[in-house]
């Protein structure tokens, strides 16, 4: 997707290890979001950011932390990965916060 990239695209990790996913945007949008997608649950908000160093929790934030030191980068960290965190993770950006999001292509994370 133009203007937003996620890395890595795929990752397999072991239970108990830390994992960091990266979201990078070139649109200079203020708002950035991390969602996870699981069958039967749709997309659920993990954390979001409304500016550099300004972040807040979403509905499924336990076990996750985020950081945003620059406008263009929003990092999601799983401090100690668990099997329940196996999921597809999507980053999204938004300019005003009240219009459509632009989503990245996702990161498929498998915790074994």
């Amino acid at each position: 997707d133009a203007g937003i990239t996620q890395s890595p695209r795929h990752k397999v990790t072991e239970t108990g290890t830390p994992v960091t996913l990266r979201c990078h945007q070139t649109e200079n949008h203020r708002y950035m979001y991390w969602y996870r997608q699981d069958p039967g649950h749709g997309l659920r908000l993990i954390h979001y950011s409304y500016g550099v160093k300004d972040t807040d929790k979403g509905e499924v934030s336990d076990g996750y932390s985020v950081s945003r030191s620059k406008t263009e980068d929003f990092l999601l960290t799983l401090e100690s990965a668990t099997s329940s965190q196996t999921s597809v993770y999507f980053c999204a950006i938004s300019e005003w916060g009240d219009y459509g999001y632009t989503f990245g292509s996702g990161t498929r994370l498998t915790v074994v």
Binding site: D1, Y48, G97
Partner: protein, 113 residues
């Protein structure tokens, strides 16, 4: 708790038919209702959106119908095509305060040729 409920989970329609996906919400403070379309291996993409001051919005073959009193909204796809086969998500947000979208569970649409 799921604040936006979507149905059906899956839908099979013949080419040329009408696809209808329904959503219901609980939070009366929601004031923005978008629909997203997602193809396999891709992120969701905004399809069409509506605000609660109108009851219907149409863009090409896609129409959102909105019923504020019933707290329901639906997506209608007219003349459905095999290329419309995808997963569709409804969502809702409060525009003030960062507009965190709350999504429905998703509907997998298959349009048979």
């Amino acid at each position: 708790q799921q604040q936006v409920k979507q149905s059906p989970q899956s839908l099979i329609v013949q080419k040329g038919g009408i696809s209808i996906i329904n959503c219901a919400y609980e939070n009366t403070a929601f004031d923005y209702f978008p629909w997203y379309q997602q193809f396999p291996g891709k992120g969701p993409a905004l399809l069409i959106a509506i605000r609660p001051d109108v009851s219907e919005k149409k863009e090409g073959r896609f129409t959102i119908s909105f019923n504020k009193s019933a707290k329901q909204f639906s997506l209608h796809i007219m003349d459905s095509q095999p290329g419309d086969s995808a997963t569709y998500f409804c969502a809702a947000s409060i525009r003030s305060g960062g507009s965190r979208l709350t999504f429905g569970e998703g509907t997998q649409l298959t349009v048979n040729p």
